[in-house]
Symmetry: C2
Subunit: 643 residues, 2 copies
């Protein structure tokens, strides 16, 4: 249920979800409220006056009784659970002048909510179970056990093609299972890769076990492995779990993992570690719904090319050396148990194919999930991370590329950078006159660092307020205690020691700005190079789909302001969430959708940007906020301070 | 080169192969020469006089100089190497009367010599090698290693379908093989099961190894495992070897092996033993032509259903229990190395499918080899052994059955029975008046026992001479030293102690005769029951094809005389030799013929004789020499002594 909040004196009304934090609501409305402690309720600066309705107080507010009685509340400690009218006191906006409210912050639309993007899917998984009552053999009818089983399957499915099998262990057990189960068994069938291919028998279980049919979708991230358990009889997600990838001890990023893999025994160790992580995820989801890991009938996984190679024990050596050649792009359908995964010995693990060394199965899975290969709309699909992956195309063609953006968006290479965990500054407003910060952290505790979305907010706010220039350099003429020359050059202090979680000052430095500019520059140069390669421009784009959780938290205005996203109509932006996982889930539930993955692979072409002169030119031109060519950013041009 | 031998006084001329033994030549002409020592040259009874030409003497003849000068020779020690006229002295045929020569012994025609039976085959094996020069990867062309390989294969074979692969180990080595071989490699491809199926990559080798392409055909017999090594580049057989099946220590016949397999660890032991035997055969053939076992690119094997189950580690328990159900009939294409066979890890072992518990892949392989599934001629295909297997049919349909004939034809259950080894009596004539024997043994040494073909000769000769009656009982009225009541009832002494290898008497007893009658009766009842099941009679038969080495040595007249073979025109009989091995060899050399095996499997239907009342009726009627219904044996009727 949405609630309305009207902020005075601007008389600006915003709709928010019930339960939304009032400080965040103000930030979303583009309103500045002084907030130094990230929303922890300790600095006491974010006082507002509730004029109509009342808020739900989250915490004992540090306000005097008479203030409370007069309707004052700490915005950061207030939840909206009814329509409100709230006035932001003059004192709070410091100099009493009413600030001109900035355009409302915009978020991309969730692609998941839109049928025309993700589409619907039926519950018709690539594995199915059939309960069969076989005729016991007689002298007149003594065909072999396997043939009797095949016959019953064919009869049950109204004379479909005869299934195949490829599993000698199945044959070893079959005669005993059939007889002990008095010829009443359940077969687990894997549907053919294409509709004309026969099904494959992968297991035979005594009795009727058709009620138990589970599938596991696994997103094998460099950092985190996530698993989603699905009841394949109704398509429902019944448990989720995630675990840090055990390989982290061998290196934070893929490059250091590849280096580790070249040690004696290194590849084997890495393979075992990711398998151990997957096993932990399996154990965790199975515990939640009290099923046995051996009840899982299919595993669909996606990961980047390096993770995929390592899971299968393929040597990633040449992924790292020019010309960056993977061993293969389509991975064989593997028996999970053969890799050491705790699953029924016959259960298959499908791994999404890669396109290139740095455009992996996680991207293909996302492209598969969002169906850009089925739409005439020209779509830019992006996944922002250490390696930014970009796909451009439509139902007729697709090109993709990876660009090494560097880890700035994941908090790497940023002095006080951190992942998007509790205490990370995720939202930031600056008072245009006082240049004081309004800081909102994840979980609204005292700040301990800056995450990707916070970084984008900070840089765009500093730029708009004129604190930094388009080259990312601090305005040396501003005389302000927060802007100073620190150990690492010029910086802006986001939080004083007293307001931070660890008691240490948190600042953003010129070095940080430089890293961010390189990261966003690489992405933007990537979009441009790919579009140019097919003779297109940003004007031709119908949609931008952002994969990764990041997309949901990005403020479009600010991301465009710094040049991370192209300056096109905001309603063209969508976020997909974890596309890698979504593709696995859809494929696991609907074999028709699953078969369509072949189309994705066949349409997509990789471009190698790393040594392309066009890319380098675009990259150099993008090392500016938002860009050296301001005609590409008309809306940003308007709001930047005149020089 | 054929040579003519004219025997006087009968003036009977016979053509024999150059080098043929003169005693055997006389026997083939149906002429009796007294011969007691099996052809060892020691009894000195088989003296003949060479009238024109001369023989090649094999051994110092125990003849006086004047006898030699007069032209006398020992027939058993003489080879024919020119045209001869030979007179059999009156003394030799004892009472001086010229014996009416019996119809010339007839042999079946070798099917191998006949194109319309075996057909021709091209050298186009199911595996092929292709030498490829790959374009080294560049930044503009950095497709994955596997894809690069696939592309080169497709280009080489003029845009055939993209091959598949299924061998994760291949992917592990691939990047290193390609780079170490400077992108010049040879791929080993397995052609698809059907022409529309894509090839499968099974190995990649550095450099050009196309000159080395070898295949192994293996006949996995209960007693003996035979291997034939074929150069698949020209289809030539380059080495052969055989070895006793190591499983013999666990039981002579399949039933005792099945019983052994039910002990704890029994099945595993049996599997290991047959694998060890196959490895010994591989080692032996490879040594002969100095190649490495890992150079073998494909293994085609055939064995009976029990041997096939055991090789794959499938439990044969239910093969032995009514209703005799195998685990499967089509065996999965297996990696030989996975079974423990010393071969390249990627090499596949194909095992001919079975039809039923007692009609196995050895029979299917034989039927496949002789192409009865491609001809309109109604064919009776038989393999005589402990279990007689019978197939009747043509290009439109086939029915098969097994009948438990018992081991008489392999020397089992016969007092002095033995396998067809040195010293086994393989041919026998009786002097119709003196009832003295003419014995010829394998390798013409002193006799030490009786093999299958000898047994058939002995019984038919005793029957024709009136020594035994049609019930297989000795004529108690004959007063002859060789016919007597021994420890096991009535018997005929084939060799006195002085004439035998071990110094012991060799005789055939009434118990032996009874066992033989049961064995041949089961076969004949099998033919009849199968033919009746499809509304046919012996008159409808166009051909009889005998598989197994036995067929080459059987004297048709005698086999018909005892009722083992039907009394039809002799020119309808063919022998195939080891059909099981032949099928493997053809399949290994010609993938088009190999693919046709599917037709065999799809056409053939098994009948279970063991508890069929019709079979039991026919069996009872067949327990007579040759049969209770003499109208089925018109030519035998004529030559048997009038009652």
């Amino acid at each position: 249920m949405k609630k309305k909040v009207t902020f005075l004196p601007d008389n600006l009304t915003i709709e928010v979800e019930e339960g939304e934090n009032l400080l965040s609501a103000a930030a979303a409305a583009g309103l500045y409220i002084h907030a130094a402690c990230g929303g922890d309720g300790v600095c006491g600066k974010c006082k507002v006056k509730v004029e109509e309705g009342d808020v739900l107080a989250n915490k004992a507010m540090q306000l005097k009784a008479e203030q409370h009685a007069a309707g004052f509340r700490l915005a950061c400690q207030s939840s909206v659970n009814q329509d409100l009218v709230v006035s932001i006191p003059a004192a709070t906006s410091k100099d009493g002048k009413a600030l001109k409210a900035k355009p409302k912050t915009t978020r991309a639309i969730s692609a998941r909510s839109l049928d025309h993007l993700i589409g619907s899917w039926q519950v018709a998984p690539p594995v199915e179970k059939r309960f069969l009552k076989l005729d016991p053999p007689t002298l007149e009818d003594n065909v072999p056990d396997l043939q009797r089983l095949m016959r019953a399957i064919k009869k049950k499915c109204h004379d479909c093609a005869e299934p195949t099998y490829d599993h000698p262990e199945l044959l070893m057990e079959l005669p005993f299972i059939l007889r002990e189960a008095a010829w009443e068994v359940t077969v687990l069938l894997l549907r053919g890769k294409r509709s004309e291919e026969p099904d494959r028998i992968i297991a035979v279980e005594p009795g009727d076990t058709t009620d138990n049919l589970y599938g596991l979708a696994v997103d094998i991230g460099t950092t985190t492995v996530c698993g989603v358990l699905i009841n394949l009889n109704n398509g429902e997600v019944i448990a989720e779990a995630s675990s840090y990838n055990d390989q982290i001890g061998c290196g934070e990023d893929v490059i250091s993992r590849i280096i580790y893999s070249q040690r004696p025994g290194g590849l084997k160790a890495l393979q075992e570690k990711v398998v151990r992580t997957i096993n932990a995820v399996i154990e965790s989801v199975c515990k939640k719904v009290i099923i046995n890991p051996s009840d899982i009938s299919y595993i669909m996984a996606a990961g980047n090319t390096i993770m995929s190679h390592m899971l299968l024990g393929l040597n990633p050596k040449f992924l790292r050396e020019a010309p960056y050649v993977p061993v293969c792009s389509h991975f064989p359908l593997t028996r999970a148990a053969a890799l050491g995964i705790h699953a029924h010995p016959s259960v298959r693990l499908f791994l999404y194919p890669s396109v290139a060394s740095y455009v992996g199965g996680d991207i293909i899975s996302g492209v598969h999930a969002c169906q850009m290969y089925k739409s005439p709309a020209l779509t830019l699909f992006i996944d922002i991370g250490t390696n930014g992956e970009i796909v451009v195309g439509n139902e007729e063609w697709m090109v993709c590329a990876a660009c090494s953006a560097g880890p700035a968006f994941e908090g790497g290479g940023i002095k006080h950078g951190m992942r998007a965990n509790s205490g990370a500054i995720e939202n930031f407003n600056i008072h245009p006159q006082t240049l004081e910060p309004m800081i909102i952290t994840i979980d609204r505790i005292k700040p301990c660092g800056i995450c990707g979305s916070g970084l984008i907010s900070i840089v765009s706010e500093l730029l708009e307020a004129g604190v930094i220039d388009q080259q990312g350099k601090f305005n040396r003429n501003l005389n302000h205690p927060r802007i100073r020359e620190g150990a690492d050059g010029y910086e802006y202090v986001l939080a004083w020691g007293k307001d931070s979680l660890m008691g240490e000052e948190i600042a953003i430095t010129e070095v940080d700005l430089d890293n961010l500019i390189r990261a966003k520059g690489a992405m933007y140069a990537g979009y441009l190079t790919l579009l140019e390669s097919v003779g297109m421009t940003f004007n031709d784009l119908d949609r931008v789909i952002m994969a990764g959780n990041f997309g949901a938290y990005i403020d479009l205005e600010r991301a465009i302001c710094i040049g991370l996203l192209p300056d096109i109509a905001r309603e063209k932006f969508y976020y997909l969430g974890n596309g890698s996982m979504l593709g696995c889930q859809i494929s696991l539930t609907d074999h028709v959708r699953f078969r369509e993955r072949m189309t994705v692979s066949s349409l997509i072409t990789n471009l190698e940007l790393s040594e392309s002169p066009q890319f380098m030119d675009h990259y150099m031109a993008s090392l500016f906020l938002p860009h050296t060519d301001m005609s590409l950013f008309p809306t940003v041009q308007e709001k930047l301070p005149r020089k």
